[in-house]
Symmetry: C2
Subunit: 427 residues, 2 copies
Amino acid sequence: MATIYEKMTTPELTLALEKLDTQVELTRAKHLALDMARGKPSPDQVNISRPLLSILNEDSDLIDEGVDCSNYGCFEGIPSARRLAGAFLGVPAEQTIVLGSSSLNIMQSVLIHYWEKGVPGYTPWSKLDNVKFLCPVPGYDRHFGITEDLGIENIPVRMTPTGPDMDQVEELVANDDSIKGMFCVPKYSNPTGVTYSDETVRRLATMKAAPDFRIVWDNAYCMHDLNEHGDHLMNIHGVAATVGNEDRILEVASTSKITFPGAGIAFFGSSEANVKEVAKTLMVGLISANKLNQLAHARFFPTIEALHKHMMHHAEFLRPRFQLVQKKLSEGLGDTGCATWTDPNGGYFVSFDSQPGTAQRIVKLCADLGVKLTPAGATWPYGRDPHDTNIRIAPTYPSLEELGQALDVLVLATKTVCAIKALEDRE
Amino acid sequence: MATIYEKMTTPELTLALEKLDTQVELTRAKHLALDMARGKPSPDQVNISRPLLSILNEDSDLIDEGVDCSNYGCFEGIPSARRLAGAFLGVPAEQTIVLGSSSLNIMQSVLIHYWEKGVPGYTPWSKLDNVKFLCPVPGYDRHFGITEDLGIENIPVRMTPTGPDMDQVEELVANDDSIKGMFCVPKYSNPTGVTYSDETVRRLATMKAAPDFRIVWDNAYCMHDLNEHGDHLMNIHGVAATVGNEDRILEVASTSKITFPGAGIAFFGSSEANVKEVAKTLMVGLISANKLNQLAHARFFPTIEALHKHMMHHAEFLRPRFQLVQKKLSEGLGDTGCATWTDPNGGYFVSFDSQPGTAQRIVKLCADLGVKLTPAGATWPYGRDPHDTNIRIAPTYPSLEELGQALDVLVLATKTVCAIKALEDRE
């Protein structure tokens, strides 16, 4: 689709650019300092979890169903936290491990283990000539970083409104044994907000792949609905088990965006065999995780319903921000043809696509005008967005007022870069 | 030195064994269930840290010198916790990283990093034909486990009353470039309780070694004096820097045996260059550590003096236990020649050496009589104690009464096995 600037005559376009330039200079004069780069809850939002800090005090009972949470032991996590993890991830409590605060750290540890030792029964990945991972794009730069750091080749696969392009995925994994894994954020994907359809989940769980192919099922946002009835995500463990693929699924999540970022508890859930093997491996480098934090969390969320209620409280902060993104972008860019963007029902991000070859310039112009965005390209492996279109919008941290200003700048920058490009293209 | 049993005539020895057997059967009839295996503080001792749990509550200020501890960020740790870490480890605060609860986990992450990528400027250890680590013995099985897991060869070196045998260490590292590191618990070593002398520290810091040789300086017990004036340990960083070896020292510690086992905060301290490089590496798998736990700890210990005072409170629980070990062993075995043992001024363990070829049988007899000990051999790499003499005594967890009973059993088992062996040897 042609943009409004492409459709203009050259004198019209020159005039439009002059007007945009004037707006740019007026905006620059405001000396803004706004940040729309970070997937962080706002301070007010974080504060709703403060009662968690009063759960334990010096007089508390520190025993959880017979386990002393104040001393070493109980590597797999305390019983009540594992029950919560099971309800959270959709596996029996015995198929979970509850660890420290970081799910990223769990993913890395497990992948390093397969790199060094291999999936049980198979060659260590480090001993193979090529190891590749599939990375749905746009995706999460921290995922790509873990595999890149190990020397695993990240292969982008296209995201669609129902999840990764499964025709592409199936064809790749069926014909290339060196593809050993795939990153998935199946609900409210980072940054598109897409939730995988039942068909996508089913195909991922059952498709033909290398026997030591593993899916990192990062369910970071499985509880992060913006409304009471969020997207439905099929339980992948059940489908995988029907064809004997239960070992394929490595699910992780944490409460970082539920209670305190960086200070929550993290979950691992998988098959019985994987949980046993992963626990044995992680024990080499850890005596036991912080069980007092597990206890505080398990008492703060005695049931998964209590957790869901807490998430609805979070949604009160997030809903108006996500609504403002849609409003500002629709009003500012809706009839320009300059960009498209997603409208998710949950999660932490909106994915924004500008015209090919403009994302870096838009991010740079925003920065010049005092609005920090996630670097263009960050949503692609190696930071290389081949069409230079994708920008991740993180609307959660700024106040509504700041967010509105930042979005105005993004709209202005998008239109300006789009108009400049239209002029360049005809020169 | 000959044991009393070796000196007996055969009829005397047979009679002595009959008496010991009677005692064994009387003990067996008690159906004891005691545990002297675990380096854990007793529940009463742990309770002295309970006020830490009241430090933060829902109304607390969660800002530490400008850092919001309730949200992401500040990877290296919050300012006040890094200051504590610096005072703890004897390096400037800027040369520390404060992480989650486990120092073992930090050691493992750093060694995996060198394994995968190499010490900066040198070949990754995984690409070398041989990689070896020196392991002072008796030592800590968890250390040996990290290197064993990576496929690094663990080479035992003899402990002396002033630390590892430095003549042996210097000769080994000077002539073998494949020796890439060494584990040290420099103060109140696990399990001997030995504190390295100034000369040992100086030689370790300055000796000729491979340029990518690293010392894991696990200062787990640096604050764990049994008395007001504990052993003196020289600051190794200062000595190392005088000869440009400051990158050699990787110091770690945690508050696991200061506040809550498994739920403390862990410290890394090294040269400026190492801290920068290690932080960059660890960031691949961690967004930020649990800063709320760091904040609670930093407020609980506003100064290193406050921490020292807390440790003197811990010592009140530990002192009578360590005294009881000396009393029971001296009274029971002092004139038998059957065993020797250490008498440390701090730490968590006493190292016990029986006659060659008896440790496994002693541990087994103790188990038969209801007293669990650390498995014989655990203090050696691969669990192989070549002379089968060493047993680690962990006196901290049981009550004084239970500890006394357990030590009586150890004395009886040592004498019994020693007498049986004397009889066997003359048959």
